[in-house]
Subunit: 467 residues, 2 copies
């Protein structure tokens, strides 16, 4: 590593391209925002161009130095933090954002671009980048691509994968593989970019992407629905899917989540009676900007007639819509405020969600004093399972069974043919559990890719693929 | 190959599992429907199960026998026809179609399922499979996945890739890699299925898939628009994209195409004056089934006010809509009826389409007597270029410069950063031209994948990757 640092300093004769921990404070480069993953690094590399990335990786590969690609560091599975000897490669300065092409509605975007910056860039042009999530002010496009991030509007627009037209990657040996095309339809050979999207930086480093923007919808209409029986969630989903053609979000919140948010986060009053076990937030993008002419109320009325809904409230303005969304958006803050949490991010086939929710409450009840907070994206089956520390729980009882608890949750996921990672990725955290979602054959093919393209295992070692 | 045939007959003791050309007529197994690709085969394998496919590939791999996976054989680039010594692996009998799950709106589908059968299956359940194309009565899901087929509604629903939730593949050595999950969100490790979608059968054989269905739209509204200037096509696209939120098709037809269809195919009268150089078919899926209340007419009126449109006609019924679509759907038949055609299927960034159309007419005018028929999916930049034989052209003049002509078309595509294959794939036909769309680095990574996963080069040899 000493040789490496000397070589980097010699060959890249520009001391703004790295941070030396012996001279500077590394701040947030060595620990993630959840503070669960902390490490050390001998050097933080801060390239300004793709060519810098290529030169840096080439040196790392030659000397066998491990490297951790890092974006906004907002992940929760330990996919972008060093342990001790790994060099951090921060993509933050590759934040070019330009070349908007109105005909194809695409833009060229550096890996270090912050999501919120891209949102604003799109809005300024009367368009929208449809992937949105809570960390929007910090998370970076490169990290979102490497983890195939999802968020609130997957139902209508898909995950990051669906937004990508072109991609530029630097391979472990420094080779630049660049195809920054703007094409939605390109069946000329194997679509290599697909392999790198969601590969968590273990096969190559994403440096730039061409992303698709979409038109701003004329309006978004929001309603909160109450259900008296969680068994009806799958039927509700089918009914909503057929009735609301512009459906963009369908978020489920158990009563306990609503109560927890009210307890821990200041905000508006909850607008429905707190007597129902399940609430569902419905959002639709409609063709007409004049509320009352877009049929949203009539469609909700039709839904009432199915007998599935116990109560509902429709937002009459964007302010009212924000107030409804508060109870979903504030979940993260409310969970952090409560104390330590066991977090799981799984996908369950939608028909199995009621039985899975039952089971998770049951599992939680065996942990003395823990509170189960269960919510998620009903539309795509993504359930966020949180077992939250409450005042009457001791750290010792609660922190101890992390791995045992994970095995129980992932086994319940596996038997329902779900996924142990819906949108957070595998990272270091879930590596040993990958076998719950993937067969030995699949894992062996992942290993074969890794071995072919990063034979010295320098890119994000210890992430995703089990030993 | 003799050893191979003996071994197949011994190990798979069921003579319905193969067709022997010495005893039976092989019909359409050895030539594609365009009749451009003809070959011979020593044996046609007709597995009934994934396990059969695994056993067959295992034997092929052991003996080094090349194999051509074949679906409905409706491709146009020679991706599924044998030359001489290759064994044909027909997936037609893997046509299971079942396990519809209403909550996730997904279905499990064998590779041999015919597209039309899947359409009908979906419609019977009040749903729709959104990929649609002319060969719907013959093309099979496996082939559509192997080529990542597109069609008429890519603009709204994407290509085959976007419809896939789970995939089952048999690798060259017979290993079954199966992940038939129903999940839209699954970020547990590298998404291997993405590598096989669009890989044209050179890396593995797709045997089953889980596909997403979507709700039937309340209504589809169709209009035909006339433009007086093709230069306005990119601006028209931006305007239409912003104004029509449910836009599902945007098809461009030059006047010459309309005239050619009228000349060669019986059909309804063309409902607009034949005096404009460009016509565009717009189709939108709307929320309301009552025409007049869905705002389609108002949106079209708004488009008129931009001054981009010279004339337009709105279909008032599904019959009228079919009559408008006739001029797009009959293009294939009209081209075949005229005689020999040089066909190209390219994607051009939408802003470059006017200059590309100019250039293609210019290229065609250098071929004595040939007629340029240019049309395609404006929304996604997919242009179908056809240079058609007319009565006053001699075969000799016309057939000779095929490869030279391709170089010209693909060079014009390359300089505009387009793709030499939008939706037809590479096959044998475009293999030598892949360098016009992909860099040497990209092609080298495709080769590395092929070498790792099919080391004996038994799967569809001679397809896609240049020597």
């Amino acid at each position: 590593v000493k040789d490496f640092i000397d070589k980097i300093k010699n060959e890249l004769d520009d001391n703004t391209l790295y941070l030396d921990p012996e001279k500077e404070d590394l701040g947030t480069y060595t620990s993630d925002w959840t503070k669960k993953f902390n490490g050390n690094t001998p050097l933080v590399l801060r390239p300004k161009t793709t060519l810098h990335v290529s030169q840096m990786l080439s040196i790392c590969n030659e000397l066998g130095v491990s490297i951790i690609p890092q974006g906004g560091n907002t992940g929760v599975v330990g996919g972008s933090t060093p342990r001790s000897e790994e060099v951090v490669l921060s993509l933050s300065r590759l934040n070019n954002l330009a070349d908007y092409d109105p005909a194809s509605a695409t833009v060229v975007c550096g890996a270090g671009t912050i999501l919120k910056t891209l949102h604003d860039f799109a809005t300024d042009r009367g368009m929208e980048f449809p992937v949105d999530l809570g960390a929007r002010g910090q998370c970076q496009i490169g990290g979102m691509l490497a983890t195939n991030a999802g968020g609130n509007r997957v139902l209508r627009y898909g995950l990051m994968r669906e937004q990508v037209r072109g991609l530029e990657i630097v391979m472990a040996d420094g080779t630049i593989v660049s195809n920054l095309n703007r094409l939605k339809k390109d069946n000329s050979g194997i679509d290599l970019k697909q392999i790198f999207i969601g590969s968590e930086g273990i096969l190559g480093v994403i440096t730039q992407a061409v992303l698709q923007l979409v038109p701003l919808p004329a309006a978004r209409r929001t309603a909160m629905i109450a259900l008296s029986d969680r068994e009806n969630l799958p039927i509700l989903l089918s009914e909503v899917r057929s009735r609301f053609p512009g459906l963009s979000s369908l978020e489920v919140l158990l009563l306990q989540v609503i109560e927890h948010v009210i307890e821990y986060v200041d905000g508006p009053e909850f607008p429905l009676p707190k007597q129902f076990p399940v609430y569902v937030l419905v959002e639709e993008e409609t063709e007409s900007s004049s509320a009352g002419h877009d049929g949203f109320v009539e469609r909700l009325g039709g839904l009432f007639e199915t007998g599935l809904i116990a109560d509902a409230i429709i937002a009459e303005s964007s302010l009212q819509s924000e107030r409804l969304w508060h109870f979903r958006e504030a979940t993260g803050e409310a969970i952090v405020a409560a104390g330590f949490t066991h977090k799981f991010d799984v996908t369950i086939p939608q028909g199995e969600i009621p039985s899975f929710l039952d089971k998770m409450e049951n599992v939680c009840s065996n942990i003395l004093g823990a509170r189960p907070l269960l919510f998620g994206h009903l539309g795509d089956g993504n359930v966020h399972v949180n077992f939250v520390q409450t005042p009457n729980i001791s750290d010792k009882n609660f922190l101890a069974p992390a791995s045992e608890l994970a095995k129980i949750v992932y086994e319940e996921t596996r038997i329902r043919k779900g996924s142990i990672s819906a949108e957070h990725g595998i990272g270091m955290l879930k590596r040993e559990f990958l076998i719950y979602s993937k067969t030995p054959e699949e894992i062996s093919f992942m290993r074969s890719l890794k071995k072919s393209w990063d034979p010295r295992n320098i890119l994000n070692p210890g992430v995703m693929i089990p030993d």
